[in-house]
Amino acid sequence: MVPTWHYLALAAALFTVGVIGVLTRRNIIIIFMSLELILNAVNINLIAFARHWGSVDGHIFAIFIITVAAAEAAVGLGILIAFFRNRDTVNADEIDLLKW
């Protein structure tokens, strides 16, 4: 049986990769994908803990996280579409106006 901390290590590594993606990429779509990576890392942790303690509460949390991820992707990409229609770019560092 794989010890629980191996799962935690994998989740930590995935989380870090996601953070690097969010902080360094310019394309908002890739930034969103990195966010999904981060959420997945959290899910791995939750499921690993659920097995560790032998209860399904972690699974319930993971379901809610997936729900939130779906809502986030829908709204976030909706904003992206609206932004792209107005400014014709998908680069995060060109979004520097609060109002136009």
Binding site: W53, V56, A74, L77
Partner: protein, 167 residues
């Protein structure tokens, strides 16, 4: 090592490598394909952790739903311009350093928790039969979050449609 342990390490390597490719590919479509690979291996890791319902949900919602949304958006916005531009922003070195600090912190935490982690994990069969247990917990102990989730979805639906619709 048994077969299931080997599966975990193989899947972990695949997940990490494709995650790195997600954030390094220039073409968003390739990133999306590698993200699908990551999500798929995470789903198999769930399966290996006896979370069969979660594995199915991961594939249905993430790969069958959210990734389709991503690919749609990639096709809606013209990406040929994006491919030719510089993929990383100006603060990439600071950001990379910060991320490494984060990783060091994680390492420290896991190292400090090593005694706790030696506790034997509960028998994996404790979360079986998975769907029935999830149903019982979700609809008896977690009623309020469940109903709030429906509100969240309603708000997301309204918000997303308002954002995307032509004014």
């Amino acid at each position: 090592m048994t077969f299931y342990e080997v599966t975990f390490y193989v899947l972990a390597v695949v997940a990490l490598l494709s995650a790195i490719l997600v954030i390094t590919c220039r073409n968003p479509v390739h990133s999306a394909i590698f993200l699908v690979l990551t999500l798929l291996s995470v789903a198999l890791i769930f399966l290996q952790l006896q979370a069969e319902f979660m594995a199915a949900v991961q594939i249905i919602v993430y790969i069958g739903g959210i990734m389709v949304l991503f690919l749609f958006v990639i096709m809606l916005v013209n990406l040929d311009v994006a491919v030719r531009q510089a993929p990383y922003n100006r603060q990439r070195w600071i950001a990379g350093f910060a991320a490494l600090v984060l990783l060091a912190e994680f390492t420290l935490f896991i190292y400090q928790g090593r005694d706790w982690a030696k506790l034997p994990p509960a028998a994996a069969e404790a979360v079986q039969p998975n769907t029935e247990l999830i149903g019982r917990a979700l609809f008896q102990n977690y009623i309020l979050p469940f109903e709030v989730a429906s509100l969240l979805l309603l708000v997301a639906m309204v918000g997303a449609v308002l954002m995307a619709k032509q004014r």
